[in-house]
Symmetry: C2
Subunit: 561 residues, 2 copies
């Protein structure tokens, strides 16, 4: 039982102003947290209880699935990070020891878990296996922000699974997805948490997913339709609306244009035509081969370089950059007037965004300053390949449900799954003997994160009301909040508190007496800490034969003592 | 339920040799731990469960006492350490951030807890209060050793209490001592854990205590008698045995001595007398005043500089050092022949160890090379004060129980209490308003540590047998270990495991099949992991109508299914 008369962590009268996060203000006001330094928060007792409740949910679900909890070190030796080529990442802290020795305080645990499992995995019978831990991690963020969402010190549940093959992972994945969704359901986020396909960077072309909780102030945008379709904005894809596609195809003509460097606005004004009728052409240079690529898109859309990157990575090379003026000159064109016309000297590979199929009789460039074309149609152009290269827009239509518009919603990431492949298992020399007693040194790894302290921040935001944080039962720091009015009634309140504790409930007894500790203050703190069941014991309720019980979402009632 | 067929963390055939610690070898053999680097251990799943069980005991006892659990940061800002003058301690890690910024990963948490409570403590009504957390800590040990006992990364339960005065602390202290002892009892260490008075260094002259568990390989020595008396060796005190005290007092004579620099051995040989009949005189120089102090003790005993230091700190100055040859020359004496005789020119303050009262007719020096005295008695000497300045010996007698010898026993520290006073509360500006509404800026602090990972190492050593670690019920990683023999009996074993789990027990199901996984291996792992209840299900036990249950310390019996 927490007796508030003996609890120094009092709530504040008003919420301190924190620029980037309203829930952080509320957490500071409620004495939940205190900033130790930018990006690192002290978890005060009330907040610590919320943490433990959340951890317990995650732990129970992970354990039930047969994953093995352990506790890896925070200090890690430099040579492990050199083994994986990750020693010199500036966002990872280096910690000097004696003499020349340096350690790292772990920002992530591949460099722990891989050598550990390397010592124990021997046979295909040991696989698949999944281990996890819940521990603090550290990142040398240049600027820490957003309260608990992106800190220098944070708590994560990290799980790692090891497999004989990619196929072995498939059935495992179905399980862990369920485990995660059960966690989020138990945490009260189920209805608003989705699994979105995400880009995992260079090593995670496939099987990278994020668990995202819809939230007005979320830092990500999730695109979905009423089918299974759920994607991070960066990778989302939809169908642009048809424009003047029923018009008759006219013959292309050359004409004079804006006598200056142009942009889309100047063009539309000059020709008196809508922006969707403009052709937008951008030239990129592949950095390995030096080859040029043109990408053409409708004038009202933008190129999504993440999608383009994936396409180029699969087809050509690793990296690419915008072509500069020198490149354009070499190619015989000029910025603002680029156009891969069939009869031009611009003879390069040209990728066409599918949006081009929704418009007829475009305006385009003519590869010289102040020279344009009009009535440009697909047959006038040098087309290599069609693809989806556009930033999706909220008015795009779904690929899956005819006529349905895509839905854009803000969300915050609460969990993720990354394919690690053999990126770590190979340098650490993992292997196993297969069914035929042959050594196989391709151990596939996946990892699964839940940023526990970030999740707490998301939950605070999600369950926030005007008055406090409406924690779900089981996650709330305490189950009951007993307001006792009148010092003479404290013994009765204590008795009630003991009996509730005997039934397995946790109880705050607000036994504060004094001028400042009236009913208002007590009711206020109960709301601020989001306790789902409020009890009042006062002369009045005792007159009525008992105490007043207010369960969240129900009418208050008198319960006989 | 842990199914061993799906558990990769297998035990080893033999214990790896670890030079300084037998239990560490056993823990490595049992797949409990793995060394990540010198001084930092990975806690593998079995060990992690033991950790959680121990933490739970501590948490329950601390919570029941009304102490508030929280979670402080590991990253701490440099300026807090500068506030307390502890930034430049080489055993504390510094962590470079961006630019000139440096952080510290906390080796201890005064620099967290003091500013936190400083924000919340307002009135005397908020005091006393006690907060705690269980968290990893870090020390830049030059050489990490002794397995889990002294690491670079370790887990501690740290509690801090805040008081209006030293008196306020007294009743509080009685409580927390009980809390600690209850913890150690529940952990199975109660019978062998004692509270010893200890030296807490310069800031903790009083109220520094250590909780010590008797252990053959313990790194400390605890001195006790059958009364309440329990002291760390450094501070222990006893009565040296009487020697020739009944002899008649003879007249002092000067005589020639060893014609050379002497030591005790040469003296006893030269005079043909026992070492206890020699006077041993050592001169110290007080470093502030430049004053000299002679300390005289029986020749078979040694001066304990810790005791001497406490005496000098209280009476004279902070620090002192052995006098060197120049000092001795200045004083008119010479090393090996120093003697504060009444008629000598050696006119300095002389402290006399009480052991001098047990001998008559000493041999001593005469303050010149190769000159000695014999039949020296107390009346011949220039005595300032008697005191207890000796290193205690096992044959010393108790001060409390007449005729009883002191008992020396090796032990390992499992907890401690330090008086912090206002060392941290003053620089952080803590204050409170007292009963008369006056501001009082003397907030007294105490701290209470339990080194959880160290305690785990001590417990491993304490409960170690030839075959494994006999964890007590409730601390053991699992309650039951089910050995199933014969693949066809696995479903029956599963059923039993489920029913045990339903009753709230934790279960290992050893369902491994195969050539290497016979009964011997399974029984061995059960012992190594110290599971208190072993169940065997086999064709034979089923024939007898059930399973064999072997509860630790009892005869095995057949239990009907």
């Amino acid at each position: 039982m927490l007796r508030l008369s003996q609890f120094p962590f009092k709530t504040l009268k008003s919420a301190p102003k924190v620029s980037d996060n309203r829930s952080t203000s509320l957490l500071l006001q409620g004495g939940y947290i205190r900033q130790a330094m930018a990006g690192a928060y002290e978890f005060l007792p009330i907040w610590h209880r919320v943490l433990r409740n959340i951890e317990q949910v995650i732990r129970e679900e992970m354990d039930a699935a047969g994953y093995h909890e352990m506790l890896m070190t925070i200090l890690t030796p430099r040579d492990y990070w050199e083994t994986t080529g990750r020693w010199d990442i500036p966002e990872y802290f280096k910690v000097p020891g004696w003499g020349e020795t340096e350690y790292r305080i772990a920002p992530t645990n591949e460099e722990n878990v891989t050598p550990i499992l390397g010592e124990f995995i021997q046979s295909y019978k040991d696989l698949p296996t999944c281990v996890y831990h819940i521990q603090k991690k550290f990142r040398n963020e240049k600027r820490a922000k957003s309260g608990l969402l992106r800190g220098r010190e944070f708590i994560m549940k990290d799980a790692y699974s090891f497999h004989t093959s990619r196929e072995d992972f498939e059935s495992f994945y179905a399980d862990i997805k369920q485990v995660y969704m059960r966690c989020f359901e138990r945490l009260g986020l189920g209805a608003d948490t989705v699994i979105a396909d995400a880009d995992g960077g260079a090593i995670s072309d496939m099987n990278s997913h994020e668990f995202q909780t819809y939230l007005e102030v979320g830092e990500d945008i999730i695109v979905s339709d009423s089918s299974w379709y759920t994607y991070n904005l960066e990778l989302a894809s939809g169908i642009p609306d048809d424009k003047n596609i029923s018009e008759e195809t006219k013959t292309m003509e050359y004409l004079d244009s804006v006598p200056d460097i142009v942009n889309m606005e100047k063009m539309t004004k000059y020709f008196g035509a809508p922006d969707w009728q403009m052709l937008k052409t951008v030239i990129y240079k592949l950095q390995d081969s030096g080859k040029y690529i043109a990408v053409v898109i409708r004038g009202d859309l933008d190129i999504n370089e993440l999608k383009l990157g994936k396409y180029l990575r699969n087809t050509y090379a690793e990296s690419f950059a915008l072509a500069d003026e020198t490149d354009l000159e070499k190619l015989g064109t000029v910025r603002g007037f680029i156009s891969p016309l069939k009869d031009s000297q611009l003879n390069i590979t040209t990728l066409w965004d599918v949006s081009l199929k929704t418009v007829k009789n475009f305006y385009g460039g003519a590869n010289a300053i102040a020279k344009s074309t009009k009535n440009v149609n697909l047959e006038d152009l040098d087309i290599s390949e069609f693809g989806d290269f556009s930033e999706p827009r909220e008015w795009f239509l779904s690929h899956n449900i005819p006529g349905e518009k895509l839905v854009f919603k803000r969300a915050s990431e609460v969990g993720n799954i990354f394919h690690l492949g053999t990126k770590y298992s190979t340098p650490f020399g993992l292997s196993f003997t297969d069914e035929n007693n042959q050594v196989n040194d391709t151990v596939e790894m996946w990892c699964y994160g839940i940023g526990v302290s970030r999740l707490m921040g998301v939950m605070a935001e999600y369950f926030m009301t005007e008055k406090g944080i409406m924690w779900p039962q089981g996650i709330a720091p305490y189950d009951y909040y007993i307001i006792v009015m009148g010092e003479e009634n404290i013994p009765k309140a204590e008795e009630l508190a003991y009996s509730l504790e005997k039934q397995g409930s946790s109880v705050i007894l607000d036994d504060r007496v004094g001028r400042k500790d009236g009913f208002g203050q007590k009711a206020w703190d109960c709301e601020l800490w989001g306790i789902p069941n409020r009890i009042v014991i006062s002369a009045k309720t005792l007159e009525q034969g008992g105490y007043e019980l207010l369960e969240r979402g129900r009418e208050s009632r008198i319960v006989k003592l």
